[in-house]
Subunit: 129 residues, 8 copies
């Protein structure tokens, strides 16, 4: 059982994932970290989401950053997206993550800002008595 | 007592606030709508935040869109920001809302996407038993 | 049996889909047009892709435009993406469609340029004896 | 008693603050340098502004750069903002600082251009007999 | 004798100049409004600046918006620039006005934001006893 | 006889061409690599296209990246363009390659993403029995 | 015999071509106006350039605006490019026209600025005794 | 007597000026190189332009790059502008140089592309018998 599921689209996003876990380590919440690409491992991703009992998902991705949106389309839990500056200063990832269609919400934080994804998750989890 | 506090920076953001309330009206959650500018009414804003028992804040703002960030600096609750396309296609507001410094998280949704702010708030509130 | 599957993410992309069909109508190739959102109808999308015998997929989408990439991750056929200028002049959709991770290719044409998606599909189909 | 209050949002903005002080050191005007974040230290910021007798404020900040705008909302003195290129070449900070709502003016200088903030402050102070 | 000199680069900037004068009309400060292009009337511009006793200059310009910078290079008084959205949402004018070289400061306000130029001028003039 | 013609606009694009050939080397398809600039060697380019029996063209180019479009105007085969980040993070090349006029289609992949150009070519070639 | 050859890539660029001819009509220089697409009519374009005795070429184009660059690669005469705001505020066309590789120069004027293309041509022609 | 006057706005533009002179050294045309800022040395600039018998001006500048436009407003000769990537990848300089108001033309080449400025000057000079 974990409170937060932290997924990254590629092993190259690991440094940003560390910024997430560094903040969560100083909280009372547990978490699980996985590397699963929305585009390259769609089946594994779907299975992970289905079996996970995480209350909040954090999805880290660069480029066309589909990971947060795909997760949000397959769970009813809050999904936080972290755009990574792999190319184009992260503008591509930021727009891919923030500009979701109505009905499938993703909470975008700033480019490479794994810390704020964790802080936002903590604020959400703190609402649960 | 309300579940969601919906604040907009200017009366001109009203159309986007309606997109928020349209979605919340179809949920079981209550909400309160206010027009308070972070820049022009800082004292009223601070008082509103202090006295509010809302579990989630939705802040709608265009231009240099400081409202979500200021709220996030004065509450420990989750804050959702909606960038408004008042100028520059909303790119100014999106960057102002998303690019928060580490430690003060704001959950940005897409430009003018009030519906997703409400959907995100509902996902968060649904976590509370 | 169809040669081209034309999918759009939202009913609001219909005008761009017409530009695709207008060009295909003047070719010898058959096509099928569907409205299926990658984010809102992930199960229907997966089923459609599995059962389709289309040789080429054309995916039309605005905003964070995940449709082409999701299709490309679930088929081995060529996928052509058409970014729609729903917001931000289509820059969000163009970056979402073009900036795919290595291994999951999408062929992006220009913003709102449904005609070129059809022309590209025809060039590809013409290779088949 | 100081002529110019120089505030930066984060210790990482120190190099730009030096560009401000280097120019002011060659003028007849006195100044005070502080690190106070608009988002992380809102109370300290408010107290500093209230007790300060500075005639001009220079606020240095990157990312969503709220510092200049918050100061301008709490003082009637001229406020000069210096956008810092922490991310996105400083475009995020430039738009956050320049695109203020009518009624709460901030004078933006160029990205990382602490020198011009000081030169502008000197031109303003030179008007006082 | 005037307190503020309001210059615009082209007759097409008149609507923005009205936003400046609307605010100044409600202040105690006098002003003078002129249409003089930095590029098309360089001699008239130089003569106007030399003979003017204005304490603050407001320069309104679109496109490659050279007017504020040229004025700042020919006077030691504070110069406020207002970028106009004639093309490219005003991004061209904003960058032209804000990105001045060190030593020649211009105070940029937001795109089309004539009101804030006036408010900033008033804050500066209020410093004079 | 080759399956894929890989052209780059300049010797400086060689690293991106290697990403193409690395993927093609692991496929059953043959290819030919050439350095021919659309702007500096228009005659050689035309001759190469005419004599080539390649089924798919991959064109790699930075800056105003005309190579893919020029090839597409002189062949009826599918043309894949790879924008190179020589300047401006590759935004110039991406727009030059993607924004083709209706009737002359180019399939753009992501910035510097030679691998996806090869993967896309393989998907196209796999359609041929 | 003409002094200036004015070419546009598409009939939809006609309004910008009128801005060119309006200025040239008030000069002593003759001109010829043609609609020839670099991408759709490459052969006609090449023939036109070869047979033309124009001293200066003005090429008007939107989108991936290859026309000016292609002309510059086939003539040794000065080529002036006018980017048209068909999409993306003309940013695509401006970058396509300005960012030419070393050795094949194009003189870019501003977006939709046909008048300046004519004025620049006149300045060049005035050098000829 | 010189054919080309090469001016740069700052000593830091020297590397780009070398790209201009490298190309001109291989031509039959003479040139003169100067460092004169439009903003910091307006009087020297005016005098230099007046006394110069150059047939073509090349102006190299970064940031808000006013130099080419100011020269174009004070001479009737063709002026070529070279935007320098001092900040923001040169986008600020490119827009400042290209987006001139009608009547004051500047020929912009690509970012940092001093070579093309020289090649364009040579094409212009070659028209003179």
């Amino acid at each position: 059982m974990v409170d937060v599921a932290v997924l990254m689209g590629s092993e190259s996003d690991r440094a940003i994932a560390h910024r997430v876990s560094n903040v969560l380590d100083n909280s009372k919440y547990s978490y699980d970290v996985q590397v699963i690409s929305a585009h390259r491992n769609p089946v594994e991703l779907e299975e992970y989401i289905k079996q996970s009992d995480a209350k909040v998902f954090i999805a880290i991705a660069g480029l066309s950053a589909a990971l947060p949106g795909v997760i949000a389309s397959k769970t009813g839990k809050p999904v936080i997206g972290v755009p990574v500056s792999a190319k184009m200063m992260g503008l591509d990832a930021l727009l891919s993550i923030a500009q979701m269609p109505p009905g499938v919400p993703v909470a975008s934080v700033g480019v490479d800002n794994g810390a704020n994804a964790a802080h936002l998750a903590i604020r959400i989890l703190d609402l649960i008595p």
